[in-house]
């Protein structure tokens, strides 16, 4: 593929990277082949130069190794005091990340990029501290030796024979904005060492004998120089591409490493990384999970290998298949892999004849994919697994196998006794049956034991000479061999079938668990029930205590945990959760960041932001960290996050819809109100101006008519404005209900008195029993309710139709009813009549603004009562409302001069 013009996607990615770098701090690494070449010295000199240029420079951590000339350079630079960490009784000084973040200088000096922090620090490694500094926009100067580069780690170990554990992922180094090589010839370095300029004398002697041998130094120097040269080369290529310099480019390479459970897998991964960076290729690491059982140590090794791959910037995948070779090749083809890296088979040649190794089978079917075989040298053995050992199965299976053989022997003995004519070959069949049974039931080991014991028993009891192991006839040897082979074949097959079945069951369980979660997440509504479902499913599937903390709108973690709140009660645990919420990365138990935590913290990541944090504290830790379980957990978290995001978006969409609806309603309300306001104003203005006009001659009757119109319209306007004010006050809660115990009749009386003019000529029946108890109400508001209901009845019924006001005592409340005998309500209007601005017939003139009943409903609700409208079958509408009888009515104590009263004055 020739790139005549820059690929827009690549350029965009670079621009984005550049933009990110603007916000991020710049990282400069002073790089050398070994200690003592003068990295720290060069770094401090550079820092002084920056300070002289006016930059705010702080020394966060510097390792002077007691060298006076280096120490002298720190004078005049601000130094952050180190953090004191007590670990197992020893006080260690560490770089204080929080102080550095708080101080927030423009440039900070943090020596020794590869340093491992004391246990209990926030991050396991110093490079993670530096990442955090960079992420908040602080520039960092640091130092690094070549042997600490992760992908060169094994090469260095090969050269020097010393395994360096403090490594820095290549990605960190690749992302450095600047790398300055500090070079010194090996002879000069050795000279400095001897002069005691690098280490103290006794340390120096030790170092000279081991690490600082001249051969080592030459090799390390070459490594360092080559690494820098590679980088320069890449920069050159970048430059050429950016400027579209015509050149033939290699086709896009993709490298895949197939790793197994062997201890050399890490080496394969590193090799792949080196190859990938030289070829500028994407790379991935694949592990094929087969039905075969693996020991916990093997599983943990796989997990570590995959994690290492991710740390080195590769992609890790776990595939499932029965045959490793075909699964690998199929996946490689699907991903357009051009180079496949595998470990060299280590099995002896004869095994290869019996059963081809993965590598040779891949070689046969890989077609056009290049296959690289790399010697799987034993890597440094990892420290003993942190997660206990899986319990082994009992020995009872072996005893059972022996019992089966004994049973067979008895059977054969019985047959032999009664039918001595039966050939020995047929007697052997009984043993074969027993061995087959054991193989199917108890697995390989017991079946091998069974076949051995069977052969021995047969020989002992039934082959002449009887009751001895001597074999007189050699042809029985064939019988033994066949029996053993049959036992092995059957047990192997059975074991394999059972393992496949087991694996299938486990897969089915995982799928079922996933399905159950996704179904429930799809079914439930609302964030709270989703989180609740997620907590429940995660805790049952992974046998763990689970808590979920959510971020609020501002991105701060809400302290209210759903699930098991005891998990995050301790401030230290909460701190981890907050860190995860802020950075959107996994931390806590079993990870490199804040690994001392009791629980594993995973971010609930959505497209734009971190929604929250899931804390998982498994009962048995190693089980959670099995690759398939861990991936399942990640899938669970992912599923939960996307469900939450979906819920959030749904809520937002609903809010938008409601807002549009409200907006629409508001504009229709506005037009209704403005119409209702303008009509009376038009009448008043018209009438008043014609009365004022001296040109218009009006007779007395007309003048009176116009004045009457003004008064009536003013009255109408008053009512409308009053209603508008009332509904606004009621809805905004500006009206306080002042309840006082009083007879309802008095309020009814007040309403009737106020409406006496309008009610003239109407029959109003008041049916209130004298025994009706006092009600706690706000008389002004309830009078308003009655007024509105009466006005409503007057408006919508013919003038001769009677109106009834009824009140009844109910249990704990009083029911009040205003009934008319008008046309009743239109169907379906029973609830709508209480809506604001609802009018029976909007086109009929002279009707109200549709507020009266809405005000009634608001007042009744404010009293804690209910209101309803009923259309009567025989015509007429009934409006009913209840007033709760809360509390006890106040006692009517006898008063001074009342008969029987106690005299108090």
């Amino acid at each position: 593929m020739s790139e005549q013009r820059p690929d827009p996607d690549k350029l965009l990615a670079e621009v984005q990277q550049a933009e990110q770098r603007v916000a991020r701090g710049r990282l400069k690494i002073f790089f050398g082949m070994a200690a003592g070449v003068g990295k720290t010295y060069a770094m401090l000199e550079a820092a002084r130069a920056r300070q002289a240029e006016g930059l705010d420079v702080v020394v966060g951590w510097v390792e002077t190794h007691g060298r006076a000339e280096t120490e002298a350079l720190t004078v005049g630079l601000e130094r952050l005091p180190p953090r004191q960490v007590t670990y197992r009784g020893v006080t260690l000084a560490e770089f204080d990340l929080d102080a550095a973040l708080a101080r927030h200088p423009q440039l900070i000096i943090v020596d020794e990029l590869a340093h491992t922090n004391a246990p209990g620090s926030r991050h396991a490694k110093r490079w993670q501290d530096i990442e955090e500094l960079l992420s908040v926009g602080i520039d960092v100067y640091t130092t690094l030796n070549v042997q600490h580069i992760e992908s060169l780690n094994d090469v260095v170990a090969q050269i020097t024979g010393i395994v360096v554990r403090e490594t820095v992922p290549d990605q960190v180094i690749d992302q450095a904005d600047e790398i300055e090589l500090i070079d010194l010839s090996p002879d000069e370095l050795l000279q400095r060492l001897r002069e005691g300029k690098v280490y103290l004398p006794q340390q120096a002697a030790h170092a000279l004998r081991h690490f600082f041998r001249k051969g080592n130094l030459i090799a390390l120097r070459e490594l360092a120089l080559r690494h820098i040269a590679d980088r320069v080369d890449l920069q050159m290529q970048d430059y050429m591409r950016d400027h579209a310099i015509p050149h033939t480019w290699p086709t896009t390479e993709r490298i895949m490493v197939g790793v197994g459970t062997g201890p050399g897998a890490a080496r394969l991964v590193r090799a792949a990384r080196r190859m990938a960076s030289t070829l500028r290729a994407q790379w991935l690491v694949a592990y094929v999970e087969t039905p075969a059982r693996h020991s916990p140590a093997e599983r943990e090794r796989v997990m570590r290998t995959l994690r290492l791959a991710e740390q080195l910037g590769g992609e890790s995948v776990t595939l499932t298949g029965h045959d490793v070779a075909t699964t690998l090749v199929t996946y490689a083809r699907r991903r357009n892999v051009t180079k496949l890296i595998l470990g060299k088979p280590r099995a002896p040649h004869w095994r290869e004849l019996v059963r081809a190794s993965v590598a040779s089978r891949v070689l046969r079917c890989s077609g056009d994919i290049d296959v690289y075989l790399i010697a799987e040298q034993e890597d440094e053995e990892a420290p003993p697994g942190r997660f206990g050992v899986r319990p082994s199965s009992g020995a009872s299976a072996y005893w059972r196998a022996l019992a089966v053989v004994a049973l067979c022997t008895l059977l054969v003995a019985a047959v032999d006794r009664w039918y001595p004519a039966i050939a020995d070959a047929n007697l052997v069949m009984a043993y074969l049956l027993g061995v087959t049974f054991v193989a199917t039931r108890y697995g390989r080991g017991p079946s091998i034991l069974a076949s051995l014991v069977s052969v021995l028993a047969f020989d002992f009891f039934f082959v002449a000479p009887h009751l001895s192991f001597a074999v007189s006839d050699t042809q029985y040897l064939i019988t033994f061999a066949v029996m053993l082979l049959v036992a092995l074949v059957i047990s192997t097959l059975t074991v394999r079938v059972r393992r496949q079945a087991q694996a299938a069951i486990e897969r089915a369980e995982r799928t079922a668990a996933l399905y159950a979660l996704s179904r429930e997440l799809a079914r439930v509504r609302g964030q709270a029930s989703m989180i609740e479902a997620a907590v429940r499913h995660i805790s049952t599937t992974f046998d763990a205590r689970v808590a979920i903390l959510l971020n609020d709108e501002q991105g701060h973690l809400e302290l209210q945990a759903v699930g098991d709140p005891t998990l995050v009660r301790e401030p230290s645990e909460l701190g981890v959760a907050q860190w995860v919420a802020q950075h959107g990365e996994v931390a806590g138990l079993g990870t490199q960041t804040l690994g001392g935590a009791h629980a594993l913290y995973l971010p609930l990541r959505a497209a734009q932001r971190v929604l929250g944090v899931v804390a998982v504290c498994p009962r048995i830790a190693w089980r959670l960290f099995e690759p398939e379980q861990y991936h399942l957990l990640e899938t669970f978290i992912h599923l939960t996050a996307s469900a939450l995001e979906r819920a959030r978006l749904a809520v937002e969409a609903e809010q938008a819809r409601v807002q549009i609806e409200t907006e629409r309603q508001r504009s229709s309300l506005l037009s209704a109100i403005s119409h209702d306001l303008c009509t009376p104003l038009a009448t008043i203005t018209g009438a008043a101006t014609s009365l004022l006009d001296t040109q218009t001659i009006l007779d007395q009757a007309t003048r009176r008519d116009l004045l009457q119109a003004i008064a009536e319209e003013a009255e109408r306007l008053t009512r409308l404005v009053r209603n508008l004010l009332d509904i606004t006050k009621l809805e905004s809660g500006a009206i306080t209900v002042r309840k006082e115990w009083q007879p309802l009749e008095e309020v009814i009386g007040a309403a009737l008195t106020r409406l006496s003019t309008a009610l003239q000529g109407r029959t109003v029946l008041v049916d209130v029993p004298a025994t009706l108890p006092l009600v706690p109400i706000d008389s002004v508001l309830i009078e308003q309710v009655l007024l509105n209901l009466l006005e409503n009845a007057l408006k919508y019924t013919p003038s001769e139709a009677p109106i009834t006001i009824r009140a009844r005592s109910q249990e704990r409340s009083i029911l009040v009813e205003v009934a008319d005998q008008g046309p009743g309500l239109p169907p379906g209007a029973e609830t709508r009549v209480f809506e604001k601005f609802y009018r029976g017939d909007p086109h009929q003139p002279g009707r109200g603004a549709g507020l009266g009943l809405a005000i009634c409903a608001a007042i009744v609700r404010a009293h804690g009562g209910t209101i309803s409208a009923i259309s009567q079958p025989g015509g007429g509408a009934r409006f009913q409302f209840t007033l709760p009888l809360d509390g006890t009515p106040p006692p009517l104590i006898a008063t001074p001069d009342e008969p029987g009263g106690t005299a108090t004055t």
Partner: protein, 233 residues
């Protein structure tokens, strides 16, 4: 009232309201004085010694309650307060401070003139002796003999009922707040027990009104108190 037409001081910040009040009052033979702020109102009250004050509760420079209070410190001039709707508490407070009556805006001029008449009459009666027999539309109350007749039939009232009726009759035509009634009938210790008044009022209505749900003598002023219909003299 020294033979001249009564002087009425209007303390109201809205010029349009002052304008129609002044016109109508003048047309009814009253002499109208205007003040647009509380400060000016208090000054004018002291200077011109009006026979009645119409006071808006919503003045910009001072609380209407404050004005009532300060007027009552030295004068017993009848005060009619004007208030907006929903200011029930302010109205009651003003009445308890000593205001004589209230009107809710918007109001008809007929109503205002009736209130002014009642207030002015009570003011003059306070100086002269109170009429011993109150009579309105078939109801007779003899305050000296403590006897009540309805359509010529004597009605027997309990002492509390009678005391309640007597207080209302004394202020006939004027609103009397719950608190005022409680203080005068039961004593100052019972000022909060509004349900006493309401219960005895209901009993009184049972005895005096034809239809207690539609009272004609004892009118309810919701949230404020009661008013006895104005007597015929």
């Amino acid at each position: 009232m020294n033979g001249q037409s009564p002087r009425i001081l209007i303390i109201e910040d809205e010029p349009q309201i002052r304008r129609f009040l002044r016109a109508t009052l003048a047309a009814h033979g009253y002499q109208a004085l205007e003040a647009s702020s509380a400060e000016q109102g208090l000054r004018d009250a002291a200077r011109y010694l009006p026979d009645l004050v119409i006071l808006d509760l919503g003045l910009p420079d001072a609380d209407g309650l404050e004005v009532t209070h300060r007027l009552r410190e030295w004068s017993s001039v009848p005060i009619i307060v004007l208030s907006a709707r929903g200011q029930e508490q302010d109205k009651v407070a003003a009445l308890d401070q000593g205001a004589d009556d209230y009107l809710t805006k918007p109001f008809g001029m007929g109503e205002l003139l009736a209130r002014i008449r009642v207030a002015l009459r009570h003011a003059t009666q306070a100086q002269a002796s109170t009429h011993p027999v109150f009579e309105v539309d078939g109801l007779q109350v003899d305050l000296a003999a403590r006897r009540v007749w309805l359509h010529g039939r004597e009605i027997h009232l309990t002492p509390i009922e009678y005391k309640l009726l007597a207080v209302l009759v004394r202020y006939a035509g004027k609103v009397v707040t719950h608190r005022q009634l409680l203080r005068e009938v039961w004593g100052p210790a019972y000022e909060q027990e509004t349900h006493y008044v309401r219960v005895y009022m209901a009993q009184l209505r049972q005895k005096l009104e034809d239809d207690s749900a539609r009272p004609t003598y004892l009118i309810t002023e919701p949230g404020v108190g009661y008013r006895m219909r104005e007597g015929q003299s």
